[in-house]
């Protein structure tokens, strides 16, 4: 069977063996959970509860009138201690609902399932998805309900379920695919119905052949197929995945539905199934805890709002000298500074290791490796130089806004230049200039 893929990209060491054999374990919720109201792309939700209020498991505690937003639910039952700013994994502190767990997990009466989920109308599925606060669980946390409602005139024909998990170390999606195969496939079918698409393609990299075979057997007669992809980073990046599977190119600055596609992560598909079939909102997710800095490596189902510390302690704690804590994978993950920071909907992994001295930076020797590895077809070294010296207009002309920050260029750079850092500087400068021009 021919393996599908996209041009360029790279293949960093995988280190998946740390955790790929670890079953997903349910992590007992902590005494206190810290649930940020801003866990998604778009406007933060407004709190629906206040200090001292009793809340139940799965109760909606945040919502917004905006389209680009997502609801937030309580992941325990108990009492709201505070609604205040708290460290947030994306950087600056954000408004967070802090709940004291009463340990009873009393479910909210609104959590009711649907008897025959597949007979629901598309708009009903979409509204259930919105009510359950589901966002893209691959890391970008784009509100799923928005993705399922393409603007007028843009019909979707294909739903791609992203089972690539191309980031090194992470195996949470792999475990989900092994242990919740049925739920993911059912969720995929619901996504297809909601998006009114014709077919499903489930894309799986060939380092997960066992789940590929599993999915092929269990497609349940739903319209679609399972496709085997070459193990290559960033195979799971939306635009590259669409190209690999369908040879369609999302136009520059466009979105997948411009080419009739919607891409959903396997975790998101499972969340959609849970939300529709049993009425469970998104208050728990699979997280890989891995890396040489942890005493034990595990795959855990963690309640949203659980501080990193609680999960890390469950893994036996940190090893001496561990000084890097990253949320997500090592290629695109965000470095964290505080163990009180909570797990959010976009937390696919927590990776800990000991970083040795920073590599010495050389001048660019024009080796061209960043060019031959960039999955977007950019010239990273040039973008870096323009951004570094403030030539933002030139940087934009050379496509700096097309950069997806996958990190291939910086990974491969023999001169150890922080290319992605400078590209981000350029992107931020350009977008803020554009915003100013608008206002």
């Amino acid at each position: 069977m021919r393996k599908k893929t996209f041009p360029r990209g790279t293949h960093p060491p995988e280190y998946k063996h740390y955790t790929e054999g670890q079953r997903l374990e349910k992590l007992e919720p902590p005494e206190k959970v810290f649930i940020p109201l801003n866990q998604h792309f778009g406007k933060p939700a407004d709190p629906l509860v206040s200090k001292g209020e009793e809340v139940l498991l799965g109760q909606k505690i945040g919502d917004s009138d905006e389209l680009f937003s997502a609801t937030v639910h309580s992941s325990v039952s108990g009492k709201v201690l505070f609604v205040k700013e708290h460290p947030h994994p994306l950087g600056s502190p954000a408004l967070t609902v802090i709940i004291a767990n009463d340990g009873k997990d009393t479910p909210h009466p609104d959590m009711k399932g649907t008897k025959d989920p597949f007979s629901l109308k598309p708009e009903d599925i979409r509204s259930k998805v919105r009510d359950a606060g589901i966002v893209g669980m691959g890391g970008a946390a784009f509100p799923t309900a928005v993705k399922l409602s393409p603007p007028k005139g843009k019909a979707i024909d294909t739903v791609i379920i992203n089972g690539c998990e191309c980031e090194p170390l992470l195996t949470s999606d792999y475990r989900l695919m092994l242990e919740y195969t049925k739920d993911i496939i059912n969720g995929a079918e619901l996504v297809r119905k909601a998006a009114e698409a014709k077919r499903i393609i489930i894309g799986i990299e060939d380092n997960k052949r066992d789940v590929f075979e599993l999915f092929k057997q269990k497609m349940n007669g739903f319209p679609g197929e399972t496709a085997l992809l070459k193990t290559k980073y960033p195979q799971g990046a939306e635009k590259n995945l669409i190209y690999a599977l369908l040879k369609r190119e999302v136009p520059r600055g466009g979105l997948p539905f411009d080419v009739g596609v919607v891409v959903q992560n396997v975790g998101t598909a499972k969340a959609v199934w849970d939300a529709v079939s049993s009425g469970t909102p998104l208050y728990e997710r699979a997280v890989t805890l891995s890396g040489p800095g942890l005493k034990e490596n595990k795959n855990l189902l963690i309640r949203i709002g659980t501080p990193f510390k609680h999960a890390v302690e469950y893994c036996g704690g940190l090893k001496e000298g561990a000084n890097m804590l990253v949320m997500g994978g090592p290629m695109m993950g965000l470095a964290q500074w505080n163990l009180d920071t909570p797990v959010i909907k976009g937390t696919s992994g927590l990776i800990v290791w000991e970083e040795e001295a920073f590599p010495e930076e050389f001048p660019c020797i024009s080796c061209g490796r960043c060019v031959s590895h960039c999955p977007m077809g950019l010239v990273p070294t040039r973008l870096m130089n323009y951004s570094r010296h403030g030539y933002y207009q030139e940087a934009e002309k050379w496509g700096v806004l097309d950069c997806v920050e996958c990190g291939c260029c910086q990974y491969i750079c023999p001169a150890k230049i922080p290319l992605v850092h400078w590209i981000r500087v350029g992107k931020n400068a350009i977008t803020s200039m554009k915003r100013k021009k608008k206002s």
Partner: protein, 325 residues
């Protein structure tokens, strides 16, 4: 649990193990067969030229680093050693050592440091050194001695290409045999004589993905096509392409000089343009120019265009419409 302090830095957090120094030392390793071959053919004099070249390149580099208040340990990044080795390989074995020193100083000073050091130079430093010597000391730079393994009349000894240009006529069959070109049993610059030794090193570099395969492939095919056209149309006047590929500095130029990362294009299309330009220019100079050999000037000439080539060969961005607006 003991409180740890964490480092904050931006992604990606993984780095490939390859580095600038490792690349440089890979190039040095790849040159070993050709260096060894030239020491075998030209004995002690070859060794002396190599030592003088590398030493004076390192000293010049050190002086510049000191004056420019740069970190001294970048002296050992390997780039100055490469410049020394490559320069030595392009010098005639008869060259006196004081000229060797002048060439080395010029290679580092004019070829590299005046532009701002590693990564900023426009021209291949070793070829700048050689071009300086060629222009300043034309006689010394074109006086050839035969390798110690060859018994010939030393007074009228010429390189295979010089022989082709000035002395031999093709019909007489007095051309240097291909077998000798292949093994290196011919006159010429130190490192360019043995095709097999150069190819061994080149294979290593290609395997190690240090050099862009497009550049040697482009140069060799352009030269072969260029000289091939003339050979087919009038074989009594022009020699066949294989001779041109194996003779002179073509192989060392195509695999080791033109592929210098700093002075070659970074885009795949750019590499093709650059390589085809070099190959055609070499053919043009060899067949119709005043010099028997054209590798050095062709590479230096195309080096000039690299910034321009990079500017106009931007790859197509994913999702960009095929035809540029």
């Amino acid at each position: 649990m003991k409180e740890n302090t964490f480092i904050l830095k931006s992604s990606p957090h993984f780095r490939d193990k390859d580095s600038v120094s490792k690349i440089m030392y890979a190039v040095i390793i790849s040159l070993i067969p050709a260096v060894a071959a030239s020491i075998y053919f030209f004995r002690l004099k070859a060794a002396l030229i190599y030592i003088t070249c590398v030493a004076s390149c390192l000293i010049t580099e050190a002086v510049f680093l000191k004056v420019r208040k740069k970190d001294m340990h970048s002296l050992w990044d390997g780039s100055a050693i490469i410049t020394g080795l490559l320069l030595a390989m392009t010098l005639p074995p008869s060259l006196s050592l004081d000229l060797v020193i002048i060439g080395s100083v010029m290679a580092i000073a004019l070829g590299k440091q005046v532009f701002g050091g590693l990564g900023y130079n426009v021209f291949n430093p070793a070829l700048v050194g050689r071009a300086f010597l060629q222009i300043a000391f034309p006689v010394a730079m074109t006086t050839w001695i035969p390798p110690s393994t060859l018994q010939v009349n030393t007074a009228t000894f010429a390189t295979p290409l010089g022989n082709l240009k000035f002395l031999a006529s093709i019909t007489e069959g007095s051309l240097t045999p291909l077998k000798d070109l292949f093994w290196g049993n011919v006159g010429g610059c130190l490192g360019e004589t043995s095709a097999i030794a150069l190819l061994a090193g080149a294979l290593f570099l290609l395997f190690r993905k240090v050099i862009d395969w497009r550049i040697p492939v482009g140069i060799i095919s352009a030269l072969a096509v260029f000289t091939g056209i003339f050979w087919i149309t009038s074989p009594d006047k022009y020699t066949h392409p294989l001779f041109h590929v194996l003779a002179g500095g073509l192989l060392i130029g195509a695999f080791f000089m033109a592929t210098d990362m700093v002075t070659s294009p970074i885009t795949p299309l750019g590499a093709w343009i650059y390589a085809l330009g070099i190959g055609s220019l070499i053919g043009l100079i060899r067949l119709f120019g005043g010099f028997p050999e054209g590798v050095m000037f062709s590479i230096l000439f195309m080096n000039t265009f690299v910034p321009l080539i990079n500017r106009y060969t931007r790859p197509r961005i994913l999702g960009e419409r095929r035809r540029r607006a």
